[in-house]
């Protein structure tokens, strides 16, 4: 196959020895052969010239270090979120700002479906004025079809009368989480999984079905392409053989334009089996499916009040902190996996959880130090500088949840953790100052998959309400662009292959209509994405 010579208005390489270029020569098997000016393309005489990007900006393909395959599957339900959002199929969904708009959208869906349950997702009552959404509102959608609205935090839902009846709920139901109105009738809102389960199983809306079937795997790539992402994690996967077969087959199909990095859930099997399974998966990796890493979830979420916080705990609200793994079991697991040379991604939201992980890693690494282990603390939203110093000493990486600053920042400031801790949460600047390798992430579908928006969040630290969450933890535009390319690649041990435009690396690019440096830090999130080049093949948004 002949090489291709791409020209661009500007190529931002992330390679300090040649930060900018206008041309890149790509081999037929998708590797970069040359980067520079037209004169520096070497033996490109027989190359196919491709000038379609002559007025566009190329960057290294973005790397999403913490997202979930569910981004590809949740769209089978009807989007009802506050923020406008684009589905993998390219459909633009307006944000829902009123109960009437929500009813109208669900009615449309109910009519499409004929009978069968209508399920919506992403709803957030805090953003909808007036009375809180109830059973009676949803009865306006249908009195015969079950209608279920999942809230954005996935811990609440609102059901119509038909759905509640399916679950056997009535005015006499006395179960925590099944809400009643002042008149004693069912309200329709159900809190937490226990109360939600009887409805969800009867309308076929279980999270279990939101896994990685082939269509979801393709949808995941569609969402990624729209965001300029060429490598994305699926940060929690049980990777059972059945799941793995789908992943291998689908990512192996011609033209599948995404490198998927699933992390094996350490809690999906007995501890003694995790290490051998991770090593086996590593050996079965392909170019487009990179396995071998392990994910360990320790606590819950800050906005759900289930994260483990150190004193003084939550600012307002009840502490419902949970452990998904007992601290002692965490110590044993971290030690065991570290000895076996397996890279760990440890979910820690609250500072109590990050402390537990730090202590586990200190013990494990003191017993068995591995150079360049790259164990990564995921989210790590509340670590203070004292914890960051210990993380730096351990030579661990952090992948901070920068999107939280915008999407949940006001709530953190006013309710969950209060002003002081909200203004230093997701401490990107401190991490860099202390020399900790930094990535930033979306946790899609919790927030939208869009690394340039994530970068904008880390740079500006502005909330949805326009509040600035401290200024000292802001990072520069170039630091943020590094975090969504080489920084994230580093946390996946893929930085030798991807993350920058350099000779020998994979020809993965984000293709942008606008120049991030020209638009500048404040407007970075407005940068339009044309699509990607994956392994040398241009892939336009919406073309597949």
């Amino acid at each position: 196959m002949t090489p291709t010579l791409f020209s661009a208005r500007r190529i931002i390489t992330m390679d300090p020895s040649r930060p900018e270029a206008t041309h890149v020569l790509v081999s037929g098997d998708g590797r970069i052969l040359a980067v520079g000016t037209p004169d520096e393309m070497g033996d490109s005489g027989e190359a196919t010239r491709d000038d379609r990007f002559a007025d566009k900006i190329l960057m290294p393909g973005f790397v999403e270090g913490h997202a979930h395959m569910m981004e590809g599957s949740v769209w089978r339900f009807t989007y009802l979120g506050h923020y406008a959002r684009i589905a993998p199929d390219g459909r633009h969904w307006d944000g829902i700002t009123s109960t009437d708009a929500l009813i109208a959208r669900l009615r449309e869906r109910a009519a499409e479906l004929g009978d069968g349950p209508v399920v919506g997702w992403g709803f957030d009552p805090l953003f909808v004025p007036g009375e809180r959404l109830s059973r009676l509102d949803l009865d306006r959608v249908s009195t015969t079809q079950p209608v279920v609205v999942l809230h954005s935090n996935m811990h609440l839902l609102t059901a119509n009368s038909a759905a509640l009846e399916l679950a056997g709920y009535d005015e006499n139901t006395d179960v925590p989480g099944v809400l009643h109105s002042a008149d004693g009738q069912l309200h329709g809102e159900l809190h937490e999984m226990a109360a939600m389960f009887p409805v969800m199983r009867r309308v076929g809306a279980s999270f279990r079905n939101l896994g990685g079937d082939p269509e979801s795997i393709w949808n995941f790539a569609r969402s990624a392409c729209r965001a300029g992402v060429t490598t994305s994690t699926d940060l929690l996967n049980d990777l059972a053989e059945e799941t793995l077969a789908d992943l291998l087959a689908t990512t192996g199909e011609d033209g599948y334009p995404l490198r998927v990095v699933p992390m094996l859930s350490a809690l999906a099997m007995p501890p003694t089996e995790v290490g051998p399974r991770a090593l086996e998966l590593r050996a079965r990796s392909t170019d487009r499916l990179r396995m071998g890493g392990v994910k360990i979830i320790t606590d819950g979420s800050i906005q759900g009040f289930t994260a483990q916080l150190l004193a003084p705990g939550y600012y307002r609200g009840t502490d419902n902190g949970i452990w998904n793994i007992a601290p002692e079991a965490l110590n044993a697991m971290v030690d065991d996996l570290n000895r076996q040379g397996i890279q760990m991604h440890i979910h820690v939201n609250g500072d109590g959880a990050s402390l537990a992980a730090i202590e586990a890693l200190e013990a494990a690494l003191a017993g068995h130090f591995r150079p360049d282990h790259r164990h990564t603390l995921q989210h790590c939203q509340m670590a203070d500088r004292a914890q960051l110093r210990r993380i730096a000493a351990l030579q661990c990486c952090v992948n901070l949840f920068a999107n939280h600053l915008y999407y949940f920042g006001d709530k953190h400031y006013e309710i969950t953790i209060g002003p002081e801790r909200a203004c230093r949460m997701n401490p990107c600047a401190s991490a860099l100052e202390l020399g900790i390798p930094l990535a930033i992430h979306s946790d899609a579908p919790i927030t939208p998959l869009a690394p340039l928006v994530t970068a904008w969040c880390a740079i500006n630290r502005l909330t949805d309400g326009g509040r600035q969450l401290g200024t000292s933890e802001r990072i520069s535009l170039d630091q943020a662009l590094y975090a969504i390319t080489l920084g994230a690649a580093h946390t996946l041990k893929l930085d030798a292959e991807i993350g920058s435009v350099e000779v020998g690396k994979r020809a993965d690019f984000a293709v942008l209509e606008d120049d991030p440096h020209a638009l500048g830090a404040e407007r970075l999130r407005e940068v339009r994405v044309w699509g990607t080049i994956f392994g040398g093949q241009p892939v336009q948004t919406g073309s597949f």
């Binding site: 006395d174 226990a194 009887p198 809690l267 949970i322 998904n324 601290p327 079991a329």
Partner: protein
């Protein structure tokens, strides 16, 4: 349609003795028990041993059984319910960090499940240290607070002082829960009883859920005698949902356990846990007014005694 499947939850921190208890239960009980294990993280799990004796074992992935985003809880319950006609009872061995009230809510909300007693298993020698541990103290406390019955493991090997201290700690956290040290008839009876979520939540921190029941502690040390007290309580049997306390009153030769449950009042001689409050009754009712009336009548009987 089959009757709802009775479910017992077995909670307890790592090393508390849940698996040992479960295995002994499977040896003794002639019911067909379906076991759901959510405890990969435990150090001494012997899933094969469990599997050998029960009708079937469902291995549930570890982790957040409470919110189950990735835990497969849906699938596990679906499988359990699909086996309904082959089993008499489902016993869930929860993970060491699972909290019983969250778990029990699944069984309470699902009409196809019938939530029976929640059992907390504790390891007496280590209990005080566990409760004082800044990381997991709250978890262990909530496990005990949310249980209908508490099983104190290792009664055969632990020293008596440790057993007494553990019993006192448990009684302080959850005065309503029955305490057991052996897998005897008393324990099996407790296991078969309905989960009494209302009483337990009335004991807990207010504002957690909709607070439907109220609780009140009533001192009875100045009641003239045991007979007067039981007569007085019998008069309130309809309004009081649950009542429990250790009493030593004139007319009784030793400490007795006084209980009102399911409308039945019982008074039995027991060895009270050392250090447990005597002559303090915990009463639970959906009607706070009924509790106030009861307390007032008890207080009035004090006055009668004082005057006489």
């Amino acid at each position: 349609m089959d009757a709802a499947l009775p479910v017992n939850l077995l909670c307890g921190y790592l090393g508390a003795g849940k698996t040992t208890l479960l295995n002994r239960l499977l040896e003794q009980d002639d019911q067909r028990i379906l076991v759901m294990v959510n405890d990969f993280g435990d150090i001494a799990v012997d899933a094969t041993m469990i599997a050998g004796r029960s009708a079937e074992t469902i291995q549930l992935s570890n982790g957040c059984i409470c919110c189950s985003m990735g835990g497969g809880l849906f699938e596990a319950f679906e499988r359990a319910l699909a086996l309904r006609e082959h089993v008499d009872r489902l016993v869930i061995e929860a993970s060491g960090v699972a909290e019983p009230d969250r778990l029990a809510n699944f069984a309470r909300a699902e009409p196809d499940l019938d939530c029976r007693a929640v059992i907390a298993v504790v390891d007496p020698p280590s209990l005080a240290d566990r409760l004082a541990d800044p990381k997991i103290g709250k978890v262990v406390e909530r496990q005990i607070a949310g249980a209908d019955a508490v099983f104190l493991s290792r009664a055969d090997v632990a020293d008596a002082a440790a057993m007494r201290q553990a019993a006192r700690l448990v009684g302080g956290i959850n005065p309503l829960a029955s305490q057991h040290q052996h897998l005897d008839g008393g324990f099996l009876t407790a296991l078969a009883a309905r989960h009494d979520a209302n009483s337990l939540s009335a004991m807990g921190a207010p504002g957690n859920h909709q607070q439907l029941f109220a609780s009140r502690t009533i001192a009875v040390d100045a009641v003239p005698n045991a007979h007067d007290l039981t007569a007085l309580l019998t008069g309130h049997g309809g309004a009081i949902h649950r009542l429990k306390g250790y009493v030593q009153l004139p007319g009784l030769t030793q400490v007795h356990l006084l209980q009102l449950a399911g409308g039945v009042l019982s008074l039995e001689p027991v060895d009270a846990p050392e250090g447990i409050a005597i002559n303090q009754l915990v009463a639970i009712s959906p009607d706070a007014g009924a509790l106030a009336t009861l307390a007032a009548e008890v207080a009035a009987s004090h006055d009668i005694q004082r005057r006489s």
